[in-house]
Symmetry: C2
Subunit: 203 residues, 2 copies
Amino acid sequence: MKLLHRYDLFSWSEFDEERNLDFNSWLWQRSDGNVLIDPLPMSGHDRRHLESLGGAKFIVVTNSDHCRGAEKIARDTGAKLCGPNQERAAFPLACDRWLQNSEQVVPGLTVIELAGSKTPGELALVLEGSTLITGDLIRCHQAGELCLLPDAKLSNKNSAIESLKALAALPGIDVVLPGDGWPIFRYGAEALGRLVGTLSNIS
Amino acid sequence: MKLLHRYDLFSWSEFDEERNLDFNSWLWQRSDGNVLIDPLPMSGHDRRHLESLGGAKFIVVTNSDHCRGAEKIARDTGAKLCGPNQERAAFPLACDRWLQNSEQVVPGLTVIELAGSKTPGELALVLEGSTLITGDLIRCHQAGELCLLPDAKLSNKNSAIESLKALAALPGIDVVLPGDGWPIFRYGAEALGRLVGTLSNIS
């Protein structure tokens, strides 16, 4: 796995040939048990790396299109699966927890429910106030610039923009880690603000 | 290949299990012929993508440890190989051109020879004044923060720091694309300056 901007955060990725971008997964190493977010299937190397870092206690899946390798990794590691509460009725995985707005997955990892995306209540996460982790709604196709899911995939564009604006208004976001595309490791709030500006100019 | 910060720049990468970071290669698409830098072996998908973007006219190899897939890709595409002039006597590839400080590979792509790295005259490149492309000397292991090659690999640390300072003093560098590790897509000059500061504090 690759080290991110903090010594307790790691990622692994898979290049998607259809979209020409990386799908990304995240690991937060904690003394009280590690958290994986939207985990892709792992190579043997990354699996051993995960074990050396303490395994996994929780797996958060931000939306039903990001199940990826979560079920197998949960089985292998004993981690508890956590999914978006608004998808509870038809989620493809049997989750141990259903996450709602404002709750903490573990101390320091806060849930935000987003509206208007392709699935109801897609989750974003804020890690210790400064690192925003997004699933599908907020992405990064052109390096350095965030974008929204294409209009055709949004269930409600106005609601999606309102959710984006709420993220852009969070104080202290330095880093944005999107499930799909390039991470932004500094001045994340600026990037969110630029995206808000672009969309406001269009609509 | 992945789109970078400009619509004419692309990359492809390979995760290195030994170092837990990505090795990166770069493509600049130009109407007068594309340039590849430190190209890794390409997947069939990326090879087709390269063809769709116009193939390759020049391949720059920044140092003898970054030959990677250059020879095969040159053979397949007909691209001219360009290597560092200071390694000319013993370079592992038969280059068509040997690059020296201040010359342009093609208009807009300027060569900088670095001192003190593990090979003599390792090349860095500046693309249209704002994108710095580095081979091995300047790297990024912790996302968002540049670093130098480990001391044990440097032929002369003071010379390496002088070369770094010269890069940090370039006006207008927004982006730093290292051959090894995370790219920095905004405020690249700041990141170079922070690295200079760190090394100055230590030495």
